[in-house]
Amino acid sequence: MNMETSIPASVIPSPVVRDGAGLRKRVRRTFRQIRGEGAFRSLLLIAGGLLVVLVLGILLTLITQSLPSIRLLGLKFIWGSTWNPVRNVYGAWPFLLGTLLTSFLALLISIPFSVAIAIFLGEYYPSSWFAGALKNAVELIAAVPSVIYGFWGLAVLVPMVRQLEARFGMEQPLGVGIFSASLILSIMIIPYAASLGRSMIQMVPGHLKEAAYGLGATHWEVIRHVVIPYTRSGLFAGILLSLGRALGETMAVTMVIGNTSILPKSIFSPGNTMASVIANEFTEADKTVYLSALIELGLALFLVTVIINIAGKKIIDRVTNE
């Protein structure tokens, strides 16, 4: 280990020659750093593994905590249309229906707008100043916290919907309900499909479009017969991501949907979604089965959104790698 004795003094750069102890210190430090290298590598490995453990832990916790309800209620849980914790009856069908209705209605309302934004930014005006402004505004829609959407919906949108219902001669114009929730949701989910659609449309090869123009196609025909078919799966992935967002959205929906466990009769009646019923009743659940039934809803929500998101991501990966 005594390196300084074996190396001729003339070979070693001058600052070290004068101080043999300094070199020894340096060598020792190098050894420590090499050992540190291994430790650091395993630290990285732990951080990476931690994420996997986290997701598995989440899944496991949801499953074990909802076991009492799965054992006791079985499939009745899904098809039962009565949710009455006082009488210990737990049927989640009103919430499943509420979630499906709000999400798909919101998707239906938002698709024309998000596709229009995608075409506008991707095809018509990819780089003008007002396109930049529109792009920032769309990102702003995604940035506004959902509780603020909910509050605004409660103060502005709900009275408007109530007036609308009164004009249509509905018996009980409440304002709150599935329709109001869908409207709020449809605004909130626009950015997800729009921004993905935009980048997909920008990826359409120029020569394809030019070939169509060369055949005498109008701009609309190019969009209809070249751009849209080429980006179809990308647009679909964007819509999937929007749907995933809509299914899991909690606060804005909770504030305007009316929160009742009765099966909704129409899209204007108040209801509950899976997320909103968890938000409302989780801290009140005093019985094991009650709590466990709510967690089973959470588990279902988790599985559905995971599947939708992974499917969306897989489509995006396939499209961008082509």
Partner: protein, 282 residues
């Protein structure tokens, strides 16, 4: 006859362009309406007293939201403390070992984490921290928010580091630097802007989150700095007061909404400036 047909096609094309134009800008109407309404309703209630007082009981005029402001800062700081180191390390792992089997599962986990509804994360934090610790606490709220921050930080770190030229790292190795010093002294400083914009974005994302705090931080009408006690946060205060039947509380909630909105917008603009300067893809 032929020119008629061509005119029809050109007209159709123009008509569609106008339709797209109208639809695209129609989305701006609700956004503008929301921003305008929040500013109009909130600005009247914001003054010095509003920022330094705790809420008063119903019936008394005045009162403020200092408990929610400080509570939010506490929860977010604690969440950042948990999420930033783990997130950056995991991001470095993914960019350094991008082909390994664990990296595949790790990426899948990040995708899953990103898609989990926030209310489900609240349930998880409830079972992992609230129940074992025996009560609602700021710490459990922070843990829930940290889980939501992780995927954004990991993704932005990985994407940033992937864009760095390999020659940079090779030069550092050639000088005999050990691996961890290459990462800390070369790779992370060079990619700091991308990592930072990911961190900022994740903070902006969690600042407005309410659902994971409902059964973790829970809310608290008084000022509290104790991480093991329930604590108020801005979005929680807005939710609780907005859904209450009292007008005084609605006023407080409007003021709080404006502050939250300004805060979130500021974070987003700041992030945009960083990422625009360094062309980071998020």
């Amino acid at each position: 006859m032929r020119t008629d047909h061509i005119k029809y096609r050109i007209g159709k094309s123009k008509g569609f362009r106008i339709l797209v134009f109208v639809l695209a800008f129609a989305c701006m109407i609700p956004l503008a309406a929301i921003l305008f309404y929040i500013i109009k309703a909130g600005i009247a209630h914001i003054n010095w007293d509003f920022l330094v007082n705790i809420p008063r009981p119903v019936g008394e005029k005045g009162g403020g939201i200092v408990n929610a402001l400080l509570g939010s800062i506490l929860i977010i700081a604690l969440a950042s403390l948990i999420a930033i180191p783990i997130g950056i390390l995991a991001g470095v792992y993914l960019s350094e070992n991008s082909k390994s089997r664990l990296a595949y599962w790790c990426r899948l986990s990040v995708d899953i984490l990103q898609g989990i509804p926030s209310i489900v994360i609240g349930i998880i934090a409830y079972f992992w921290l609230v129940k074992p610790l025996g009560g609602f606490s700021a710490l459990s709220g922070s843990a829930a928010l940290a889980i939501m921050m992780l995927p954004i930080i990991v993704r932005s770190t990985e994407e940033t580091l992937k864009m760095l030229p390999p020659s940079l790292k090779e030069a550092a190795f050639a000088l005999g630097m050990p691996f961890h010093r290459v990462i800390f002294k070369v790779i992370i400083p060079v990619g700091i802007s991308g990592i930072l914009s990911g961190v900022m974005l994740s903070i902006a994302r969690i600042t407005g989150e309410t659902a994971p705090l409902l059964f973790t931080a829970f809310g608290n009408p008084y000022l509290s700095g104790d991480v093991t006690a329930p604590v108020q946060s801005l979005p929680l205060l807005i939710f609780n007061y907005a859904t209450s039947p009292y007008n005084d509380w609605h006023d407080l909630a409007w003021g709080a909404s404006l502050i939250l909105l300004v805060w979130v917008l500021f974070l987003n603009i700041f992030t945009k400036l960083i990422s625009a300067k360094w062309k980071v893809q998020l």
